[in-house]
């Protein structure tokens, strides 16, 4: 990464931290967007607390998706699980086809309002990219490499942990990154079912016809997405550099 783009990211991070900790500093910029003397800065709760709970639910949902999707990906690429490959693919695909809003509508009567239905929607929606990338990563490992590993006396567990997963890691990370970015945006609709998150700011703005609020919520989510996307991208590049493959190949 060049020094210039590094500085740009540093500035974005600084802007984000300043904005969520001391939003009043930016009141002047949002004032022109308001009408009838409405407040320029969201005043129904702390932006910082909302940002943290937004991140928390995205993190928890992605963690759960990762554990299940990677676990399932490993299982269906083993000889014992191969027959479940088509079935698991269609199940995960269904998770992606269901719009999150529909999942919320179904989940609320079952588990009540709050974070739970949002968690379920994000979890289901995040499975596909991680699962597909885990499959691709594991299947891309060259048969020669596996033959050599087996021929040198690695047992199945050693082959998985020492050869297959390290080689698949960059592709799996790319899947996780995609899933996190989708979840960051999707989590805003969680606020329609009373999950704490940045969606609250946007919805409050829509209800009171206050463009400044809408913009603030959107801005924080967008900055988070850009920064997290970059951070995970860096982790991927580190994992890929050792493999001698150009990074573009897996993005």
């Amino acid at each position: 990464m060049s020094g210039r783009s590094f500085a740009l990211r540093g500035a974005a991070l600084l802007l984000l931290v300043l904005f969520v900790t001391a939003p009043q500093l930016f009141a002047f910029a949002f004032k022109p967007l308001t009408t009838n003397d409405a407040p320029a800065i969201y005043n129904q709760g702390s932006l910082l607390a909302l940002t943290l709970s937004h991140l928390r639910i995205v993190f928890l949902a992605t963690l759960a998706s990762t554990i299940l999707a990677v676990g399932l990906g490993i299982f269906v690429t083993r000889p014992s699980g191969q027959e479940f490959l088509p079935l698991s693919r269609s199940l995960v695909n269904i998770g992606q086809t269901f719009p999150p809003i529909a999942v919320l509508a179904i989940a609320v009567p079952l588990v009540g309002f709050g974070e739970k239905p949002t968690f379920i929607a994000l979890f289901l929606y995040g499975l596909l990219p991680i699962f597909e990338n885990t499959l691709t990563g594991l299947m891309e490992v060259s048969p020669q490499t596996l033959e050599a590993a087996k021929g040198m006396g690695m047992n199945p567990r050693q082959r998985l942990l020492q050869v297959e997963l390290p080689l698949a890691l960059p592709v799996i990370l790319a899947g996780i990154r995609l899933s996190v970015i989708i979840s960051l945006g999707t989590a805003t609709i969680g606020s329609t079912v009373a999950a704490k998150g940045l969606g609250e700011v946007i919805i409050a703005g829509l209800q009171s016809n206050n463009v400044a609020f809408v913009l603030q919520g959107g801005l924080v989510v967008a900055l988070l997405a850009v920064l997290i996307h970059d951070g995970l991208g860096m982790a991927e590049r580190m994992a890929t550099r050792r493999l001698g493959r150009p990074v573009d190949e897996i993005s």
Partner: protein, 312 residues
């Protein structure tokens, strides 16, 4: 010593390897040669149980391989495949350390062994230990592949087309290097190839396979002079026969007393090299020197030709 005893592999109705028996003595190289699909690789892979035989057995130093747990068996037998299958995420030193690490050697011992092997394969440890496979040339990858297979000092080495991915110039150098290292370490090698020249250059004995069967298992000279079947004769190449025979014999065998004009040839060089130089320089005789450089006699075209004839 590797003993293959009535080994057979069937997939459904197709027999891939049919009742093959052969023995590779300690410290020798046996080369299995044949057309593609002849069952050579399957035969090789049954030795370290990457493929389970349908019938028959394999003995390593007298021990039935079925009585040794798979992984332990493979730790004891070096294995080199075409393309080498180096681990792309591990550097050269880590690749070579694979089996010692699986065996739980301590760090010091592994590091010493890796350095020893890099030296043996003429790869400067300071330059190559930290490189990744994609940073190496084909020839260097090949050497790392063999070094990795030899890391835990196995007495036996299985090689499946180990030179198949190299260009001809590097290939012949790699074959010479393997031969030198094998003579030095005394490793017992079973090598599979479809290249007859390679078989003649490396093999103490050559096994010819065709359509799942072992047609003949004999020394190179015997294969040339007494082919068991028409197919063996065809594979050996009738036009090539005299030259192959000459390349198996050294100048010492055709040494005559007397002297001659010109640059001397070494007593240990092959008769084929001697003949080729005689033809090229347009002479009938040339002087012969021993390894110290002292002249010991001469060779003649006529004398060399005697050694390239059929015994019949």
């Amino acid at each position: 010593m590797i003993e293959i005893d009535h080994l057979t592999k069937r997939y459904g109705a197709t027999t891939v390897v049919e009742d093959v028996s052969l023995r590779v003595d300690d410290g020798t190289i046996a080369v299995v040669v044949g057309t593609s699909g002849a069952g050579k690789s399957t035969l090789l892979r049954m030795i370290n149980r990457l493929i389970e035989p349908s019938a028959g057995r394999v003995l390593i130093d007298g021990e039935d391989t079925m009585s040794i747990p798979e992984d332990q068996l493979r730790h004891r037998i070096g294995y080199v495949i075409q393309g080498y299958g180096l681990f792309p995420h591990r550097n050269v030193a880590e690749n070579i350390a694979t089996v010692p690490r699986l065996l739980g050697w301590d760090k010091r011992r592994i590091a010493d062994r890796v350095e020893e092997l890099l030296d043996l394969f003429q790869l400067d440890p300071a330059e190559f230990a930290r490189k990744f496979p994609h940073e190496l040339s084909g020839g260097q990858q090949q050497r790392v592949g063999v070094a990795r297979a030899l890391a835990a000092k196995p007495a036996h080495l299985l090689m499946d087309e180990p030179f198949g991915a190299l260009d001809p110039v590097i290939r012949s150098k790699a074959q010479d290097d393997l031969l030198a290292i094998q003579r030095r370490l005394g490793t017992t090698i079973l090598l599979v190839t479809h290249d007859m020249n390679e078989a003649f250059q490396l093999g103490d004995r050559i096994a010819v396979m065709d359509r799942a069967r072992l047609l003949q298992y004999a020394t190179p000279a015997e294969l040339l002079t007494r082919p068991a079947e028409a197919f063996v004769e065809q594979l050996v190449g009738t036009a090539e026969r005299p030259f192959r025979l000459l390349s198996l014999r050294c100048v010492q065998e055709a040494l005559e007393p007397g002297g001659a004009e010109g640059e001397p040839i070494l007593v240990t060089d092959s008769l084929r090299d001697a003949l080729s130089r005689l033809i090229w320089t347009g002479r009938d005789v040339m002087p012969v020197a021993d390894s110290a450089g002292a002249l010991v006699g001469r060779v003649s075209v006529k004398g060399i030709m005697e050694h390239g004839r059929s015994l019949a």
